[in-house]
């Protein structure tokens, strides 16, 4: 098994304690297969118990561990350190979010424009995998794990905090498909003064999405629908 010593520069911040933020450096022996999250766990358990980062499922389903890895939005849990190919790995919190401490950001603004009651389940395409029992429908969770990567990467979101951003627009698109009776109202929301009009078509959201949601395409769909609905 190959192992290599890798340097980690982690942006540290603790309000009124490590303030302004600064980078701290660590050198960690990284084995094949170790992820950025494994390294954070090792630093917390062996070097600094006060290191703050969000994590829960460790397999890219919960969406809590998103951060900037060498400047790019990624999930810490399925980013393998040796695959990055750099001698030093720079870790910073997502951009455009209020910072709670170290790599942890507050998610309140992320959920501001995603209604709590919008469904998180969708039909699970039977395809080659199998069939539903008679009289039932196979369901699965939405692909979006609400990690915040798209919002952090979006060049339109950062200077304009009132823009609802790619995750909320993608959620509107999904909710319209599942609830046709609400589609008109949802489309108005997407076309509102805080909606689709601010998208710069930079496609950064789709590039960084770790769940293959492709918000940029969903936003383009909404844009067409909004145009069609105009008198």
């Amino acid at each position: 098994m190959t192992a290599r010593t890798v340097g980690f520069r982690i942006s540290r911040y603790k309000p009124s304690h490590i303030d302004p933020p600064r980078f701290e450096s660590y050198r960690i022996e990284v084995e094949e297969g170790m992820t950025v999250l494994d390294v954070l766990e090792r630093i917390r358990l062996t070097l600094d118990g006060s290191l703050m980062y969000r994590h829960s499922c460790h397999h890219s389903s919960c969406g809590t561990c998103a951060c900037l890895v060498n400047g790019v939005e990624r999930l810490a849990c399925n980013t393998r350190v040796l695959d990055l190919g750099t001698d030093t790995v720079r870790l910073e919190p997502l951009r455009g979010f209020e910072r709670a401490g170290d790599l942890t950001v507050r998610m309140e603004t992320f959920y501001r424009d995603i209604e709590p009651g919008w469904s998180y389940l969708k039909p699970s395409a039977p395809s080659a995998h199998g069939e539903a029992d008679s009289g039932t429908e196979l369901l699965r969770f939405e692909a979006c794990i609400e990690c915040g990567c798209c919002v952090s990467a979006c060049p339109a979101s950062r200077p304009r905090p009132d823009f609802m951003g790619p995750a909320a627009l993608a959620a509107i698109h999904n909710q319209m498909a599942k609830n046709p009776p609400d589609a008109d109202e949802l489309l108005q929301l997407a076309g509102s003064g805080r909606g689709e009009r601010w998208c710069e078509r930079a496609l950064a959201c789709s590039r960084v999405c770790p769940a293959g949601v492709n918000p940029a395409r969903l936003i383009a769909d909404l844009r067409r629908e909004i145009k069609k609905s105009l008198p």
Binding site: T35, S50, F110, L139, E142
Partner: protein
């Protein structure tokens, strides 16, 4: 004790369900968790919402309780559950030898099972090993291991509970032999403070032993880590279990576009040293590709481990035979230390039931008769957690 004293809960998954239960019963509650909520054990589990069928052969009480909780959670947190069912499949003569006992005991436990022809199983799940010899439909389901427990946190918060993540307990405050609160460090600021409490509930999962030790108490906790592997691609729509007594590599849990291969288990002294033994990953692939051959052609998407908080049971050294039931210790009665209750054992499927039993004990201790309402109270969507002040 004063009327409706302040209760401090230490720890994540079950703690969230307990905060919800106690808030509904009118208690003042503060929950503290040393990291992000659900970062210890509950959030890392493979997501199986047990029908109970996995336990019928060796733990009928746990089986019955799982089926009861399965039905309750489907009702109160429907949006956090993929309700697609599961199959137990027999692949050889040994598996077949368990079939009759399995069916009898499922029925005895009240779990609705349905033996189906092999051809039907293959029509339902094309990826199954085509040499399977028998199949039984069971009401398993899959939960989002982060979002389902966050429903409890969201509802508890809306009902007035204070939820403090990144807040580590550094000591228990003692007055004589009684616990009267906790000392905590807020990891955001590294500042320390004290929280007074009429009662402290130690629900720290595999870390509960450390908390109890702060009051000089030893508890029979056995951390049992296990490894899970996820692969890209949803290989099946339903949960696939091997029809055998519980063991390693006997389950594939599909979820979104992933399939999760589970699990291994061993007994450890320390809940924190949970690195993954390298031989466990190929072992899981070998065992799970017998269930679904396509597994063999895939690479790991993620490999992780989690520490289960099992209740020590005498000389049982096999982690699969230790009961998944849980116990609730009133340290006033057990150790002469008032003001502290510890929960040990259990599993994600039964988090609500564990909370109910603990809240019942708290009501009894504090001389109140307030009925539990969590069976019928629909939980708020998890997103409400970030919507309330």
């Amino acid at each position: 004790m004063p009327e409706f004293e302040h209760i401090v809960i230490i720890g994540g998954g079950v703690g969230g369900a307990l905060a919800h239960d106690l808030a509904l019963r009118g208690f003042r509650v503060t929950l503290v968790e040393k990291g992000e909520l659900l970062s210890g054990t509950t959030g890392r589990h493979h997501g199986l919402l047990h029908s109970g069928a996995r336990y019928v052969l060796h733990d009928p009480d746990a089986a019955r309780e799982c089926w009861q909780e399965n039905r309750i959670l489907r009702r109160i947190a429907a949006q956090a559950i993929e309700p697609n069912g599961g199959l137990f499949i027999a692949l050889d003569e040994r598996d077949l030898s368990f079939r009759e006992a399995f069916l009898d005991r499922c029925r005895f436990a009240g779990i609705p099972v349905d033996p189906i022809p092999v051809s039907q199983a293959l029509a339902m799940e094309a990826a199954l090993n085509p040499t399977l010899k028998a199949a039984v439909k069971v009401p398993d389901a899959v939960m989002d291991a982060w979002r389902l427990p966050m429903h409890f946190f969201a509802t508890a918060k809306a009902n007035g509970a204070t939820i403090r993540n990144f807040t580590e307990v550094t000591a228990l405050r003692m007055t004589g032999r009684a616990v009267t609160g906790v000392e905590v460090m807020d990891l955001r600021t590294k500042s320390t403070s004290a929280i007074a409490a009429g009662l402290v509930v130690n629900a720290a999962g595999p870390w509960a032993g450390r908390i109890a030790a702060m009051a000089g108490i030893r508890i029979p906790l056995q951390p049992s880590p296990g490894v899970m592997v996820s692969v890209q691609g949803r290989l099946t729509q339903r949960v696939i279990n091997r029809l055998q007594p519980a063991g390693e590599g006997d389950i594939i849990v599909p979820q979104r576009g992933l399939s999760i291969l589970g699990t291994t288990a061993w007994l450890a002294d320390d809940s924190d040293t949970v690195s993954v033994p390298p031989d466990h990953v190929p072992r899981l692939f070998d065992l799970c590709r017998v269930l679904v051959p396509a597994v063999g052609g895939l690479k790991p998407h993620a490999v992780w481990s989690a520490s289960r908080p099992l209740l020590q049971s005498g000389e049982a050294a096999d982690p699969y035979r230790i009961s998944r039931s849980f116990d609730c210790f009133d340290h006033g009665r057990r150790d002469g230390v008032e003001g502290l209750v510890t929960l040990i054992g259990g599993k994600a499927t039964t988090m609500r039931a564990m909370a109910e039993k603990t809240a019942d004990l708290i009501c009894q201790k504090t001389g109140r008769l307030i009925p539990c309402r969590t069976r019928e109270t629909l939980l708020l969507p998890y997103r409400c957690f970030w919507r309330s002040a």
